[in-house]
């Protein structure tokens, strides 16, 4: 596999689907979104999806349909209830290989993470949420709202820049 281009990788924000004329107040909504590939255990079983980079989420979450596409069976014997918008939803874990590249199709980096697959998830446009454990522990992520871009660097970049506390 060819080596990926050096960090930082810069990703432009994505205009939310509910935005502009479709937004209740007409405003433009931008989201920090990257294309992420979830790789299943079998050859050719992978899926690339737009994923919301969510620093407020504790873990990596995905829709149940994604598990089917990559041939992964979430562990039904272990479930974690999550409170979302006042409602409780269950997620079931599965170990998945995640792949991030500076652009789809370019060489990227891969790592293993536990992904929580929802038992039900119907209406959200983003089928993957990239949270603290499984994503933010792999990279240094900088959000630039003014630039409408996010930067992803090696995980050590934070300590190199600010010093380990």
């Amino acid at each position: 596999m060819t080596s990926p281009q050096p960090f930082p990788w810069i990703f432009p924000y994505v205009e939310d689907v509910t935005s502009g004329p479709m937004h209740p107040t007409g405003r433009i909504v931008y989201r920090p979104v990257v294309s992420i590939t979830l790789v299943g255990p079998e050859v050719d079983y992978d899926a690339t999806l737009f994923a919301l980079v969510d620093s407020g989420a504790e873990r990596v979450l995905a829709a149940p349909g994604v598990a089917r596409q990559i041939g992964v069976t979430p562990d039904r014997d272990h479930s974690t209830p999550l409170k979302i918008g006042g409602e409780t939803r269950l997620v079931h874990p599965a170990d998945v290989t995640l792949r991030l590249a500076p652009e789809p199709g370019m060489p990227g980096v891969e790592w293993q993470a536990e992904v929580g697959f929802f038992s039900e998830w119907t209406s959200a446009p983003w089928q993957v949420i990239l949270g603290q454990v499984g994503f933010f522990d792999q990279f240094t992520v900088t959000f630039g709202r003014q630039a409408l871009q996010l930067a992803i660097e090696e995980v050590e970049a934070f300590d190199q820049r600010y010093g380990a506390q």
Partner: protein, 66 residues
């Protein structure tokens, strides 16, 4: 580096599962299973998938999941 303008791009695909590559819609289907099957059969690689909300779902701003 311009943001991807999804609201324009997904007009007409409300409620469908959509694959985007190079800033263009390259495939759409009613279900994720059908969409990924289509992508594989057409050998379309490196397209990114999302679900386009319905008109009704677009009336509320997304805060988180659900």
């Amino acid at each position: 580096m311009e943001p991807l303008h999804l609201s324009e791009l997904l007009r007409g695909f409300e409620g469908k599962w959509v694959a985007i590559k190079g800033g263009q819609v390259v495939a759409a289907a009613e279900t994720p299973d059908a969409l990924f099957k289509r992508l594989r059969s057409k050998r379309i690689h490196n397209a990114s998938v999302l679900r386009a909300p319905t008109e009704q779902e677009r009336r509320a701003e997304l805060v988180g999941l659900g």
